[in-house]
Subunit: 688 residues, 2 copies
């Protein structure tokens, strides 16, 4: 168990101390389960210690800084972190993530985009030869790149990008140009100030023919970091969050780059201007997949941070008394507070348990792409899109719920919750907007459903096979039979199947009416399609979760038939606690979608009431364990940086200390008094 | 119709121009309806013009400022606005609000708390004599006050406040003291830097006996604005939003104030220390009522700002094409986009129409209190609490939905939507937290319900009489009969009644079991109680809305039996459009609560589907009018301050111009390059 980092001498708040005596399971064991094993926990702690004990990685509290100071300080820390990763030879992605999270918390910088998007995309789309030239530059920090796809006028619709790259066979160069205001590159992380190279997506023209969107590596700043000729660039201004990142704009005025700077792993332009098309355009999607997995992982991370803060605070915050004139109550005892927080706690655990298995399947699909096999790519794209949407939107909503559940104090930056929100909510939009991604998932689902109608023996992935099972049973009206895990999962599967089948039916009916106009029909069904995609990803998570928990992760969901080690080997105490959390998670999800299930008569009205009462009941069961459940997430105070969420829980002292640092307190009398208030006073008095 | 203020020369974006030709009603007439008449529109425009044409009220774009600069600039503008209100003799509350909104937008300052809370509270609780002494100081700007109720340890639970005010009959003084860290006053708006007086709530002690919480006027800063002796104070630090306000902390160390500085309208302490209790403690609640009405009004205002921005943007943003390779689509044409925005648009209209009538009733209840009649106060408190909760939470959620519906560009501060969110979401917590307020409403509802069981002939207010009607019909199972306005309202009333009756029943059952422990029972039912309170306020709004629209505002809801002038006299075109919006609003609300109605078998499964299809159908009907519907809200570009929402709609030009002002663009090469990136590069290269 961790002790408080900020003030190791401080004694624990007795309210937290007594909470920590109530738990019904071994916290360290739970930590191991969450990490995926004892060794993983130890490794993580080792990496975090490297970061926390290194003074060069420390820095002042950025929440009191201006945007310019924040940008400068976070860039400093990130550069330092990269140096240290090199020094300690940290190359494993999990290690690097754990290290950087301990240095940067939930902040990212221009360099993050270099690491997380630019380099992977470069690797994915460049030829071996090109990489031989470029990777050493990346390695020596001479090439810091950004990924420049979005323009003022186009984000979602990549095919609509206007930037042009016209091949000039005379000089064997491409001429890159921004033909209009709306074609200015925009939102590009790291472009504003940090990067000296950009991967620019542009319409390729050879022989006056448009060859579609391709990627070009363009040097945008010289060795003195001044913009190259023909290039206008800068930062796009302050944002709701992520102000540590220099999202930038870029205007290209007939900028010439060598032919070799088109990324040529798949498409090619030969010296004479001959265009060689790629064997399969879908190969280009691979890079987005990893980005979506990363964002999903961040989303879960931020949920865990937030729930840790608010659960601890809810145990030390006393407010009102339940009985007249009796001692005040911990706010965690109020059912309304439990109803806000315990479902989030159970979701955090559910996502932590289910995500690695889904992730594993997606990663293997990505690896197959690298080897040229795109058979799973369609589903991987659909699944990762919906997962990214679900987890980022849940994360943003949960963080705000956690913040609001701290009452007034949650609104202070010192609680960290506003910081978490401002940063994480960006990921709801970035790398693919919610409805747009869900409609792509829907396209895959509808296609699968149509195939299913045609052949009942088709080969389905582990995540969609439920559609087949449900469709086989479609003629028997079904009801929820009990609240055990398997029945609850069946409810998720039934709901998803029925929603998909209903929207497909409606599309058929409309198609019959409108015949020609399938676009109209698609649009007229799009709200229902989005609903169906969400039901599908919720169903996938529920299914995987229960399989993980029961150790029954057979071929149906996991790529390997070996049971998941982390859960199977756990003690009965831990299993009991996890099972309760899992039931709460599943019940809560079904309760929230009870309108669907009532509509399908899968639930009786009475069952909805029992479901609710069973949730309230589970709140009581979970209550004594909640502090230990967030302790098991094993955050250091330096991860949380929250006056409300420290391990020791001296929240009022922390709040008071934090406020002293407010810049407005630098002078006792603020200039506004002498400048504006006093003169007005004199004016008004003299008039009286 | 307004033209763009920022650039009057600019031609309108043709996409908006053609939208503005499609409308099916007279925009100016609609504006009059929203304002409550032609004269009100003219007056508002006159006031706004006063503000917009006065250079002293102009200022640079605060979104590029540091917190200190923001605070300084907004204080300047607010002081200036106060001077101008005095100059133009603006005293009517609506005038002042319209004037200040044109100067401060959605920002508030320390002076706002002086105006909106301190002065009203002072007036409410001081004796005539005291006011004779104090109001001239307020008037001459010599007294700038803040309202200091909340402490670090207590916000919701006022009775738990620790600050003490002990009467010393020897010197005829009160001694104010903060006995602990948790007793430090905290969150007090305007206290940090602006105010020189504070209304401090403290536990009154006379003769060593605690007399409960009372208000004391304390001078906290001297004429040089330095803290008075015994007083430690300052700003509490940066927050998610409202950083233009100096929320402050205050520690009192045995501070002595004259006896006369206790506010003595109701309670009194005589010279010798004799305590005279107030005739009715509920008299003290009056002040909170107006504050909640004000916050509700702000919430609606921000919804209107946000929906204006996003509807205009959705008509000029083209993204993707519906048909293969056809022209790109306005995003407003996508059903998913309509499903995000049109219910918000309809809510904005619904709230604008219903709020004045509810407000009017609440105001008359407040006025009755001033005359010592507290008979309506209980319901006024319950109603204003639930209304404040509903409107502020809806406002915060809607603003974020609007922001997210702008895709990436919504995340930029230049869109204004992040500013709206950060500022409005504070009101969800301030002046009473969500669950706490809803539980207070529930207490009133349960009490009313119990009385209703006892006597079926009881006198009910216009807002609760539906409970009686529904309870009379309780034995006949009911169904939704049609989608006309009256039937839809019945559905709201039925739902609210059934939820309340269900929770009361559950409480009875539990009480029978647990007998003694009614606190346990209350808590065990509190999630359901909160749900019931929300259903009640939704039902009240639905009822009032339809009565307003049908002109059928008889005694049942309005205090006067005269029909509402604004709606009755409108043309059939305007009425048709309003009726469609109203139906959409009602259908959407019922659809969102369809789980309840299905559970009560009030809706058939098929009806839920029809409801949904009817909503989609209304989207088509409303579509041609949407730009005109936001135009009718009649905002000037200087209200919106949004690059995405200008009247002319040249969004990409506006975005590009706005970005140029980013502080990070002040130098071409950012210091981070020379300080951190370059040295690292040299380090890495030398190592290779
Ligand atoms: C913080 C941040 C960082 C970013 N970093 C980068 C970066 O480094 N590099 C880069 O290239 N880009 C970057 N972006 C851009 C980002 O990828 C896009 O903003 C994102 O993909 C959303 O696209 P959009 O902005 O065009 O939204 P839009 O497509 O304009 O969305 C606006 C609305 O239109 C709707 N809509 C659009 N198309 C359809 C459709 N076909 N059907 C139904 N509805 C539709 C959406 O649902 C949404 O409600 C970043 C963005 C953000 C916010
Ligand atoms: C921006 C801002 C400005 C403010 N300005 C002022 C000001 O000028 N002057 C001033 O005096 N104060 C001010 N406040 C304080 C404000 O009034 C309180 O923050 C607010 O009333 C909420 O109370 P709290 O912070 O104690 O929340 P808490 O009561 O601590 O709420 C935390 C959680 O506990 C739950 N909870 C608490 N009690 C109960 C209960 N009995 N039953 C069920 N659940 C419960 C809540 O639902 C919530 O989820 C301001 C606050 C903010 C955020």
């Amino acid at each position: 168990m961790r002790t408080s980092a900020i003030d190791i001498e401080k004694k624990m708040n007795p309210l937290l101390e007594s909470e920590r005596k109530k738990n019904s399971f071994d916290v360290e064991e739970m930590t191991n389960v969450l990490d995926g094993g004892k060794i993983a926990t130890e490794r993580r702690r080792f990496i975090e210690k490297l970061a926390f004990t290194d003074v060069e990685l420390w820095g002042p509290d950025v929440r009191h800084m201006t945007r310019e100071e924040l940008f400068l300080e976070m860039t400093r820390r990130h550069v330092e972190a990269i140096k240290k990763c090199k020094k300690y030879n940290l190359t494993d992605a999990v290690d690097v993530t754990n290290f950087q999270r301990s240095v940067l918390n939930t902040y990212v910088t221009g360099l993050s985009l270099h690491q997380l998007v630019f380099v992977p995309m470069l690797k994915l789309q460049s030829s071996e030869e090109q990489l031989r030239d470029w990777l050493p530059l990346v390695d020596s920090f001479k090439m810091i790149g950004c990924y420049a796809q979005t323009e003022l006028g186009h984000g979602t619709y990549i095919r609509g990008i206007e930037t042009s790259a016209t091949y000039d066979p005379q000089t064997e160069e491409f001429i890159l140009n921004s033909p209009s205001i709306s074609s200015i590159k925009w939102w590009i992380g790291g472009l504003g100030k940090t990067a000296n190279y950009a991967l620019i997506l542009a319409q390729l023209y050879t022989d006056d023919v448009n060859r579609g969107v391709h990627a070009f590596l363009v040097q945008i700043r010289d060795h003195n970091h001044m913009p190259m000729q023909g290039i206008t660039l800068g930062d796009i201004g302050p944002k709701l969050g992520l102000n540590s990142v220099d999202n930038g704009f870029l205007k290209l005025s007939h900028v010439r780059i060598p032919r070799n700077n088109m990324l040529m792993r798949y498409s090619k332009v030969l010296k004479d201007g001959t265009f060689v098309a790629p064997s399969n355009t879908r190969l280009l999607y691979g890079g987005m997949l990893q980005a979506r997995i990363d964002l999903s992982d961040d989303a879960i991370y931020v949920i865990c941070l937030s729930i840790t803060v608010v659960i601890r605070y809810s145990c030390v915050r006393l407010q009102c008394s339940m009985q007249n004139d009796q001692a005040e109550c911990q706010i965690v005892s109020y059912q309304t507070q439990q109803n806000k927080l315990f479902p989030i706690l159970s979701s955090a655990y559910a996502y932590r348990l289910a995500f690695p298995a889904i992730n594993q399947w997606l990663t293997s699909a990505t690896n197959m792409v690298d080897q040229g096999d795109v058979s799973d790519l369609g589903e991987a794209h659909a699944l990762s899109s919906a997962m990214k949407v679900l987890l980022t939107t849940k994360s943003a909503n949960f963080v705000e719920t956690c913040r609001l559940s701290c009452g007034g104090h949650g609104y202070l930056d010192g609680s960290s919750l506003p910081v978490f929100y401002r940063n994480i909510v960006a990921t709801v939009t970035a790398e693919g907007e919610v409805s747009v991604l869900l409609l792509q998932t829907a396209r895959f689902l509808v296609k699968t459903f149509v195939k299913l109608q045609q052949s009942s023996n088709m080969q389905l992935s582990p995540f969609t096979s439920y559609l087949l099972n449900q469709s086989r049973a479609r003629n028997e009206p079904k009801k929820l039979s009990s609240f055990n895990l398997e029945s609850l999962v069946d409810a998720y599967q039934y709901r998803s199947y029925r929603l998909l089948s209903a929207v497909c039916e409606r599309m058929n009916t409309l198609n019959a009416k409108e015949r020609a106009n399938k676009f109209y029909v698609w649009n007229a069904c799009s709200v229902d399609l989005v609903h169906s995609s969400l039901a599908h990803i919720e169903c996938v998570i529920a299914t995987v979760l229960v399989q993980q928990l029961s150790g029954n992760s057979n071929n149906n969901v996991m790529t390997s038939s070996s049971p998941s080690p982390s859960c199977l080997s756990c003690s009965s105490d831990v299993r009991r606690v996890l099972t309760n959390l899992c039931r709460l998670y599943l019940l809560n999800g079904l309760f929230e979608s009870s309108a669907d299930l009532l509509q399908f008569s899968y639930l009786d009205p009475d069952q909805v009431t029992s479901m609710k009462l069973e949730m309230y009941n589970l709140y009581d069961v979970i209550r004594p364990d909640v502090v230990s459940l967030v302790d098991a997430m094993d955050f250091d105070d330096r991860h949380l940086k929250s006056v409300l969420g420290t391990y020791c829980g001296h929240v009022y002292e922390e709040l008071y200390q934090w406020a002293q640092k407010s810049k407005l307190n630098e002078t006792q009398v603020h200039p506004s008094f002498h400048k504006y208030v006093k003169p007005t006073r004199e004016l008004f008095v003299s008039k009286m």
